[in-house]
């Protein structure tokens, strides 16, 4: 039975991946036509597109429709399955709402009214092009509404998001609002148990997600550097930000006890690299980091934006679990995760004296967290990757786990949970 299901998963994985490859890179196969009217699958969506925004459908419009459709349909399935748990019910209604309105209808209407297409909840750096010249220009040149939207986006990224994460953990975004999370939680729900729980997978996760965050950061700096007029002011602000941040994580011992030394070194190396790149750009005529910002951003757009978050991110649901992208790639998750681990009140309480070691929590944790290891040892769970989906809490047959925002103890170490919890004295 097991073999049969893994064959099915592989077949489904290949189908999904191929669909993504076609829609991203060969849209004409789906019927996209430039000169003449669309045919095939894309042609089918023309009437809807023309009705909504007066232009024929593009592959992205089709993708948006299908995406929203799946979130809504599987959202209903999920709600029926978890109807006994009010948290699951509300959270799912919330992702369905945000997908339908913010991600789909509002941007389409904005376009109809000749404003730039903008998914307001899609913050930088998940929305890696937020600070690209065409995007900023598009908003700035769209009159008052454009400026309003631009400021809202900045407010959301830099003020509202940290506050909400402090209060509720990263779940407010990852499993209540985000579109990627929305699809993962609904259409991807059937695959959550396939996320890898080994400590090796956890290591891979950390070695992917933080470097990707830093690449987004570099790319954004490089693009903004070429866009902004006050280059020196900009460079100095970036360098001082990095310096202040570095001082903070090295001096605030209490808060950052759980930050492994390697992470600090990594950040130091990154800061030096960035600062040198900016200094170099000031004194020479070459761009920061010696790479043309346009090359950098199209490489990122292709490798991370399309291949990783799209093709692998959803195509591999049946193979690596439904949060492949959120777990291994998303730079937004990296930032929110850092905030969650070190600055937030969010944690999962566990009551050791009730756990029967059944393993339902670990198995169904889509982020591959070995929840049981903590629960059995009676430790609260504070992991940067936890998206607060609450499934571990709902599925636990003994009421051991509780998503909580009351003030708890500082957490110690990022090592393998089992080895850490049973460290040999």
């Amino acid at each position: 039975m097991n073999n049969k299901s893994s064959i099915w998963r592989i077949i489904l994985g290949i189908l999904l991946t191929s669909f993504y490859v076609v829609i991203y890179f060969f849209p004409e196969r789906l019927g996209l036509r430039i000169e003449t009217a669309n045919v095939g699958l894309i042609g089918l969506f023309d009437p809807l597109s023309i009705w909504l925004k007066k232009v024929p459908a593009s592959q992205w419009f089709v993708y948006g429709c299908l995406y929203t459709f799946f979130v809504l349909i599987f959202g209903l399935v999920f709600i029926v399955k978890h109807r006994k748990h009010p948290y699951q019910l509300l959270r799912t209604l919330s992702v369905m709402f945000f997908q339908l309105s913010f991600a789909f209808l509002i941007p389409e209407f904005l376009q109809r009214l000749n404003y730039p297409y903008l998914d307001l909840k899609n913050m930088w750096p998940l929305n890696y092009y937020y600070f690209f010249d065409w995007h900023l220009d598009g908003l700035i040149h769209s009159g008052q509404l454009g400026i309003l939207l631009l400021s809202l986006g900045l407010l959301l990224t830099f003020i509202i998001s940290p506050i909400l994460t402090y209060k509720y953990g990263k779940r407010w975004y990852c499993s209540w609002v985000c579109g990627c999370g929305g699809l993962a939680e609904t259409a991807g729900d059937a695959f959550r148990q396939y996320s890898n729980k080994s400590s090796r997978a956890w290591k891979v996760e950390r070695w992917l997600i933080y470097p990707i965050l830093f690449i987004v950061f570099l790319m954004t700096i490089s693009v903004l550097h070429s866009y902004l007029a006050h280059k020196l002011l900009f460079s100095l602000s970036v360098i001082s930000f990095l310096l202040l941040f570095h001082l903070w994580i090295s001096l605030d011992h209490n808060r950052f006890v759980g930050l492994p030394p390697i992470a600090k070194k990594f950040f130091l190396g990154f800061s030096l690299f960035t600062s040198l790149g900016l200094i170099q750009a000031y004194f020479t005529q070459w761009p920061p980091f010696l790479i043309d910002p346009y090359t950098l951003r199209s490489a990122y757009g292709f490798l991370i934006g399309s291949l990783f978050s799209g093709v692998i991110g959803v195509g591999f649901y049946p193979i690596l679990g439904n949060r492949v992208w959120c777990r291994f790639g998303c730079p937004m998750a990296a930032i929110l995760g850092f905030q969650q681990k070190f600055l937030s009140r969010f944690r999962i309480q566990s009551n050791a004296s009730l756990c029967i070691a059944c393993g339902n929590c670990s198995t169904y944790c889509e982020m591959g967290i070995d929840v049981r290891a903590y629960a059995l040892a009676g430790k609260d769970i504070k992991r940067s990757s936890c998206v607060g989906c609450g499934i571990c809490e709902s599925i636990c047959p003994r009421g051991v786990l509780l998503l909580s925002t009351t003030k708890g103890p500082n957490f110690q170490n990022e090592a393998d949970p089992i080895d850490y919890l049973y460290a040999v004295k």
Partner: protein, 425 residues
């Protein structure tokens, strides 16, 4: 260096091994005849129903034991040679020890009218029972499950999951009469009704005619005159300490292996813990054998400390237990009498439609809270244990009712005015 041998790799044995390892680097050998590596017995049902796989219910991978220098041996022990400090296995292998912990757990209790060797008679305790069940479901017709406790309920759920339409035969006048007050028992009946499980109460089996050449099925005769014909009998009729192989040893045995509160037997270098151990003294309202996961785990911890040379005493403390009947959770903390007594009364809330109940039992002469029993509502055991230890009054409990809830704020928890003082009926 001392060689410590642990017989039995259930939770008691494994908890002992881990505790020893945390406090000493003595050599440890962990022996079991059942599964090569420790698994959660409590979760076998989920494997049967396909919700978890075998891998999922193994909390610590084999490599973990190796990494902590805990050797594993898959062998069946038939005798302990106490004077020579040797274990003898069924294939005559001799295993010497300096210190021995016996944690051989339980074995199913077989009623005198039944015989385990007859085909179609199933227990549900050991890993092998699961395999036997798995191979017999396709053929089983009109299965009958006998018993009024958790294992019987799990067997019924497993059969129902595979659409086998099981009947449940209960000797008492309601399900769970030996651990639930009647009102709560009726709530379990309600869930059986919803799941379409035919429940036969007051049905005590007095004899059984096994299949012979002419007939393929068993016939069960109940004292109330009913007969049942079936080819599958699931026995959930309790467990007994698994100590038969010790009968001719100098160890003092009662129903289990008699131990003092350091988990030490009458032989200085032999300890016992878990389901097979019987305390030689216990608190007035408690039992000398409390065969459950939590007790086994904490006994293991105490045994481990003593073996590692850290004197510690096992203290029964405040009783708690959890279970789940289909999707109805059961939570008990403290002392909640099952029937009316002169001393006790309780505040009670019940909603049969939502499958919720909450009972706060208190001592009428002192007005102190004595225990809480809830169905379908999660309670904060840590807080409750503190309250019970401090001897909180029933008024204080009622005034602080909301803090007793250990569930999401969005979830329902009864407010004070929903609880009515009742005498048990």
């Amino acid at each position: 260096m001392k060689k410590i041998v642990i017989l039995g790799n259930g939770i008691a044995g494994v908890q002992t091994a881990l505790t020893i390892r945390q406090n000493s680097n003595a050599r440890i050998l962990l022996i079991s005849e059942e599964h090569p590596v420790f698994f959660a017995r409590t979760a076998m049902m989920y494997v049967f129903m396909g919700q978890l796989t075998e891998k999922d219910i193994v909390p610590y991978p084999e490599a973990f034991f190796k990494g902590h220098q805990i050797d594993l041996l898959h062998a069946s022990i038939s005798r302990v040679d106490v004077p020579k400090n040797i274990l003898v296995s069924s294939n005559n292998q001799k295993i010497p020890y300096d210190l021995l912990l016996i944690a051989t757990g339980s074995k199913p209790n077989v009623p005198d009218w039944a015989n385990s060797n007859w085909p179609g008679i199933h227990h549900f305790y050991h890993w092998q029972d699961l395999t036997a069940l798995e191979s017999s479901i396709p053929a089983s017709n009109q299965p009958v499950v006998i018993g009024g406790g958790l294992i019987a309920s799990e067997l019924v759920e497993m059969m129902q999951h595979h659409q086998r339409n099981p009947k449940l035969l209960v000797r008492e006048s309601y399900f769970g009469q030996h651990f639930l007050p009647q009102e709560e028992g009726l709530l379990v009946h309600e869930i059986f009704r919803q799941k379409r499980i035919p429940l036969f109460l007051n049905t005590s089996i007095k004899s059984l005619i096994p299949p012979d050449k002419e007939r393929t099925s068993h016939t069960l005769y109940a004292e109330n005159g009913q007969t049942f014909s079936t080819d599958f009998i699931g026995l959930g009729t309790g467990v007994l300490p698994n100590i038969d192989f010790l009968r001719d040893s100098p160890l003092h045995l009662g129903r289990g292996i008699l131990v003092n509160n350091q988990m030490q037997t009458n032989i200085e270098n032999i300890y016992a813990a878990g389901d097979c151990a019987e305390l030689n003294a216990c608190l007035p309202d408690r039992k000398t054998i409390e065969a459950n996961w939590y007790v086994a785990k904490s006994m293991g911890e105490i045994a481990g400390k003593n073996i590692a040379g850290i004197p510690s005493n096992y203290y029964q403390g405040i009783w708690h237990n959890t279970a789940k009947f289909f999707n109805l959770e059961y939570h008990l903390c403290g002392n909640v009498p099952l029937e009316a007594t002169d001393n006790f009364s309780s505040y009670f809330y019940k909603n049969s439609k939502r499958l919720h109940s909450l009972r706060l039992a208190f001592n009428q002469s002192t007005n102190q809270l004595s225990g809480v029993l809830s169905m379908g509502l999660r309670i904060d055991y840590s807080l409750l244990k503190n309250w019970l230890e401090e001897g909180i009054s029933i008024e204080m409990t009622l005034n602080n009712l909301p803090s007793l809830s250990y569930q999401n704020k969005l979830g329902f928890f009864p407010s004070r005015n929903l609880l009515k003082e009742v005498r048990y009926e």
